[in-house]
Subunit: 396 residues, 2 copies
């Protein structure tokens, strides 16, 4: 009979053997600045263009468009701001409900709160770790009705305006199935692609299915601008509106101050965009390294039974932003002990987020059965995932 | 009889003689990066600490505290975000009214809108270009009443919660008089000090009178972080809450995600804070240069009658962030022509903001008589003010 200590030691050993580094503490994700970061940032300082307009903002937006294939990318100050504006763009209003996974980062729900709308929590699925579109469809069949082209919650009486799936740790949700649910129930689709830059669903980059989508370039993401985000859309008029609303809604004029909306100061500074341009140049390499590391983890963890390494869904090519192991049912009671021991031994690990519906601030929000999300919450552990850790394993 | 063309030529000549530069186009305000900017920014890239936590964020906040004399400074992503949180911190709620000058940048009103509160526009005074506290006191005497320790608008029935003066172009409003009005009418005072870093009222730095105050470090400000801002307060518990609310309201834990408020992602990235630290080191020099330039303008413009150069109120030592000339009544009809000719000749000038109550988005908002603000709107022209323009005039 296996002992708890053996289980924990096995996990530590597999992590140690997988990670080619002599660092004393291996964090979950750290950025890599081996490209043109210095050159571009120094150019900003040398020319004085550090602030809200500048060539790197334009270039960064163009690089995002080219890379993701969307028609318009609008750089903003962070992913939360991107989500906030996405919700505004699809018409989310006070007292609307917005569907989102219970298992996501707080920003997804907060952005809904900023619109004075009500988060409505949806379960996840084991295949993607993200929102389960089939379970959502069945749930809406029971609780929702479509009237005059809009969806209403029969229980609360409120309009349900949109659904915001999040591509958890870079693994895309089943977008085709979700699009079908959205069409059936007249819901706007917003992809929270904060974690999925470099992740593809059926060969096309995430962020192309939503009416609008949000990216993040926080310091822990696969590519970073220090702090930053972007709004993606294939609707050019929404793209123009996104740029307008995030830049104080000022009507261009040589000197006059005319603003036609209550706009936002969500502009990404040129200094941060410069960093982003250099990071985007390196993104293909980061992806190779991260996928190589995931491949090593997949092999090394296959040798122990206590945990399983999470791999991309069959319809996806994922960025493996944060790698995930799941504890088997037998050993999930050891989660906190494993977190304790690994962190004590210099291997940073972390559980997934607490289900948002369990935070007192969101206890008021409606929710469906969340049994899968609850099981995932108890069993997921994130393990070190920085791209440099995969470098020795990636093709030269 | 003087001709319009002579007036305009006189103004152009005075600007040209005042400005010691051979640049083809002299902008209103450009930053100067002659200090440790590159060293500190490079340090962020070399160490990988570019994002939302890092030593430069801490150091920048300490430098702001030391410089302004407030107990707590909290660095945030920009001045608009700082104002938004200031309003939340003093308890502004949906349908409250908040008093602010009609003559200010759109951010002051937008931050009020983000709280679902109602801007209520106040007149300015000639002495400071900012909110007129005496006229405000008289107005409140007529339209407001204090009940149960709170101020109510007898006309609209709404609670009036706070007043947000803005220190226009760096010139402080008469804070002692305004504090007295706030005490009389039970209003919270928030200083919009976005433009007044380095400006003192009766020898003490602006931002010390408000319950909370907001700074901006946008690219056009006297010191810049690319984009950035700060919340200032002498109330340590409000300072802690400001930090908490602007950093997603996460309760510190080694790995758990517990958030106890609907918080904001308003963190200033370490990369931008690094720039801010270097700029703060140079701030005393920037002030010398800017005050030297203002002094030159004061002398050169004294030689023509058509305009007067605006100088600091007697109770203030101002940063002269953006220099101001005011057209005499006789020539104010030439404003747009002067703007046209000066900009065409490579001398950037700009009118003051359109009164916010005249924007369709704020037409619904209550307002008092705004005759002084209207006159200022018609007669103010901002002229080039970058610190480097004053360098040849400042003490070595």
């Amino acid at each position: 009979m296996k002992q708890s200590a053996d289980v924990i030691n096995n996990i530590v050993s597999v992590l140690q053997v997988s990670l080619p580094t002599d660092k004393d503490f291996i964090v979950l994700h750290e950025p890599s600045f081996q490209g043109n970061e210095w050159n571009y940032v120094k150019d900003c300082l040398d020319t004085g263009w550090v602030s809200s307009v500048g060539k790197y903002v334009d270039r960064f937006e163009e690089m995002l468009q080219e890379y993701t294939g969307v028609k318009r990318a609008v750089a903003v100050v962070n992913g939360t701001a991107a989500l906030h504006i996405c919700l505004k763009l699809v018409g989310v209003e006070r007292n609307d409900e917005v569907l989102l996974p219970a298992l996501t980062f707080i920003a997804t729900a907060n952005a809904i709160s900023y619109c004075e709308a009500v988060p409505h929590f949806v379960d996840s699925c084991y295949k993607t770790l993200g929102l389960d579109p089939i379970k959502l469809g069945n749930y809406l069949h029971d609780i929702a009705e479509v009237k005059n082209g809009a969806c209403y919650n029969k229980v609360t009486g409120r309009r349900i305006r949109a659904v915001v799936p999040m591509h958890t740790f870079g693994h895309p949700v089943d977008l085709d199935t979700l699009v079908e649910v959205c069409e059936r129930f007249k819901l706007e689709l917003i992809e929270d692609a904060a974690e999925s830059l470099g992740s593809y669903y059926k060969g096309r980059h995430t962020g192309n299915w939503g009416c609008v989508s949000a990216l993040s370039f926080n310091g822990n993401k696969i590519a970073t601008t220090g702090g930053g985000g972007a709004i993606l859309t294939n609707d050019e008029s929404l793209g123009r509106l996104a740029k307008h609303l995030t830049t104080t809604a000022k009507i261009p004029h040589r000197w006059e101050f005319m603003h036609d909306h209550v706009g936002y100061n969500y502009r990404l500074p040129n200094l941060n965009a410069a960093l982003g341009c250099a990071q985007m140049e390196k993104l293909p390499r980061f992806l190779e390294e991260k996928r190589a590391l995931a491949s090593v983890y997949q092999r090394t963890f296959s040798e122990i039974d206590e945990v399983s390494f999470f791999t991309e869904p069959d319809f996806a090519t994922s960025n493996y932003w944060l790698n995930v192991i799941r504890l088997s049912t037998e050993w999930k009671h050891l989660r906190d002990e494993i977190l304790q021991v690994t962190n004590d031994r210099g291997l940073m690990t972390r559980p997934v987020w607490k289900l948002l519906c369990d935070l007192p601030i969101y206890a008021y929000a409606p929710k469906m059965d969340l049994s899968v999300a609850r099981e995932l919450e108890k069993t997921i552990i994130n393990i070190p995932s920085s791209s440099f850790l995969g470098a020795p394993y990636a093709k030269a």
